[in-house]
Each structure stands twice: as C-alpha cells, then as structure tokens.
Subunit: 233 residues, 2 copies
Amino acid sequence: MTGDFVVMPPDLPAPAGPFSPEEQAAVYRAIFSRRDVRSQFTQRPLDDSTLMRLLTAAHHAPSVGFMQPWNFVVIRDLAVKARVQQAFAAANAEAETMFPEHRRPLYSSLKLEGITQAPVNLCITCDRTRGGAVVLGRTHAPEMDLYSTVCAVQNLWLAARAEGIGVGWVSIFHQKDLCQILNLPDHVVPVAYLCLGHVDELYSSPELQAKGWAERLSLQDLIYHDGWGQGAA
Amino acid sequence: MTGDFVVMPPDLPAPAGPFSPEEQAAVYRAIFSRRDVRSQFTQRPLDDSTLMRLLTAAHHAPSVGFMQPWNFVVIRDLAVKARVQQAFAAANAEAETMFPEHRRPLYSSLKLEGITQAPVNLCITCDRTRGGAVVLGRTHAPEMDLYSTVCAVQNLWLAARAEGIGVGWVSIFHQKDLCQILNLPDHVVPVAYLCLGHVDELYSSPELQAKGWAERLSLQDLIYHDGWGQGAA
C-alpha cells in the first residue's frame, strides 16, 4: 500500500462485560444526580489536577472519525469573566422580552448563570477543519463534529459530578460575542460555555422543575417502536 | 401572579459532594473503556428491562430549558433494519470515493456499522418544536435542543458500557433516507442512529486508532487559557 497510513495489526479485543452492581450504581448515581449548577458554587479553588482529570474525561469522548475536534479554553481571568458576564446580561435582557408576559416574573427570578461566582469557566469549542477536508463518518452529516464535542461536554459533566464539582452550561449569548471575547478563529465554534466549581449541595431534581418552570415528561410517552408514532408490536 | 405557572417553593438543595474513590473509579472506568462498537455484538437478546434502564439514563440528560426534546425509536423489526442497512450501504459507497486514493483500501476494510448484527437499533431524535416557540436558554442558540439530545446519547452510551451493552453510532446516511424509513415528521431530526447489543469483548483503544486510521491527539496541545491560542499565565 502507498501513502502515509499503513494497516497496523489491530489491538486484540480485550474482555469486557457488565460492571459490578456497585460500579453500575455509581455510574447511574452520576447520571441521575448531575445538575446544571448556577448558584451552588463555593469559593474553594478548583485545583489543576482535578481540572486535568475532567479534561481527560472530556478528551475520551467518542468523536466522528476519531476527529477529536475539541479545544478547551480555561478561563480564570476576572476581566475575561466580566466581559462574558456582560455579554450574557445583554442577551438575557433580550431573552426576557421574548416570553409571554405571564411567564416573565418567574423567568426574571431565575438565576441562569454563575460566570463570576464559579472559580473556573471553560469554553469547549469545535474546530470544524480538524482532520482535513474529508472525515470518516462525517461525509454525509457535517454536524457530527459538533455532536462529538457535545459528547465531550457530557463526559466532563458526569466526571465532575463524581468529583464533587458542579457544572453549569450557559447558552444565553450571541455567539459572535463569545467568539470575539475569546478571540476564536472563524473555523472554531464555541459549543459550550461552562461554569465549574466545588459544590456542597445540589438540587435533588432539576432546578427548572423545582422552581415550577417545567415538568419532567413521561419517558413511556417518548418511546416508539420501528417507526415514528408506533407502539410496541 | 397571573397565568398558568406559579412560583413553587423550591426543593431544598440536598447535600452533595464527591463520590467515594471506588464510585469515582467506576465513573471513569465507564468513560475510558466505552467504545464505538461495530463488530462485537453477540446474538444474546437485549431484554426490555435493561433497555428501559438505558433509556431512563438518556432521559435524565441535561436539556435546555428542561425541554427534553428527545424521542426514542426502538427498532427490532428485521425489515426496517434491512432498509436502514441499505441506506447506509448506498451512502458509504459514495463516502469511499471522497477519500484520497491512498486511503481507500484501509477505508473499505473498516467495518463501520452493525445494523443487522445488533439485536436492537435505536434512533434518538430531536423534536425542534417541543416546549413551544420560545424555550429558556435557546433564545440565542437554536442548536441547543440538538446538543441536549446528544447529551442523552452520551448518558445512554456510558450506562450501556456499565451494563455490558455495546453501542455503535452510525452516521453515514443521507438524513432524508432515515426520515423516510422511520416516518419522521418534518419538525423531528434524527440525531443519532445507534446499534445496541451485549458484548463480551471490546477494543482496549478506539478501533480507528487500533487499525491505524488516526492517532489520539495530545490533550495538553488542546488546552488554552483565557483566550484562543494562549498558554497558562
């Protein structure tokens, strides 16, 4: 074969099976007790070794064609955080006016970010050019690199829960503001702006549910079989 | 206050902190040993209670504005799987021609799906209209519902690893083919088409790495501080 890649002898598959009941319970505990944190950050600093474990978890997300399109912009600088907080505040003022009048008092009472309160902010980005012009698995679905980056976010979020670190995803921004503040190149998309810090307590249900904004849907109603709208055979 | 929502007394936050070292290890084990499975599915059926646990994990993903935009189309019907496999094969034949000539032999040697081999296929969709015209947190970032749905995929993937269930994400489709086969309405996007089944063994590194398609990037090279391209202060 010619070219810069050769077929390597594949790793032999390793034995794999279900985790122990205790390990399974830990994974489900992370999944079910993870929260989107806005108000519970303590002022305890987030040390570098913990942060590196979280970023390593993110870096082991699945990615289309093993593209690994993510970068991690770690923000501790107070001036940068302040600019991001201002960008949020401007967008959120616009957002409030979009809701029906009867919902605005509750909307405006909700705390939707902990940008300056959290010791660390983290922007996880997607480099849409990484891996070259043609990426395996992305030939027919160009959005797959963005989706891979979201998988990295969720890996980090669950690892953070296990470490006692709260994570809040702030999405009320004009994207161009974030790009400008963080000096992102044109080919790089800010997928997630996250606030991170130690937490001592968390809501026992999603905060928007606890505060009466929305209810959890019935899972059973969301399941179809073999085609949209179809029940089990 | 008027309207159909009232401010409920919030749940009191519950104590939360780091998991035990054993629990943390279990969460990281799921993250680091999760694989994108194409070839390792056994023929052991996937029982309904296990599948429901996986779907429950997915349903507890974070979602913008607690929108929960996902549906789960569970596919066991052999005729539906066969049509999906044909849609994949047609797209994959197109995909192969897009790669530089020297990479095609390796590309065509890779098995990129287990659609008919896996006992269960699962399409996780995003209903872009759920939650009404204005969704909290989505006012400035309309893609957030798609990203929420990807978080559900990753929750399911990690829960599946803990249960000994392999998951493979197949993305080489013309989206319109999937929509047609599964009869999806126009406002519903197929975010992920997954193959699920019991596995006894998994690659110890990502299969595309094991087979010489791509290398893992250095995490350190992907981290910036306070702005794109900047090292630590």
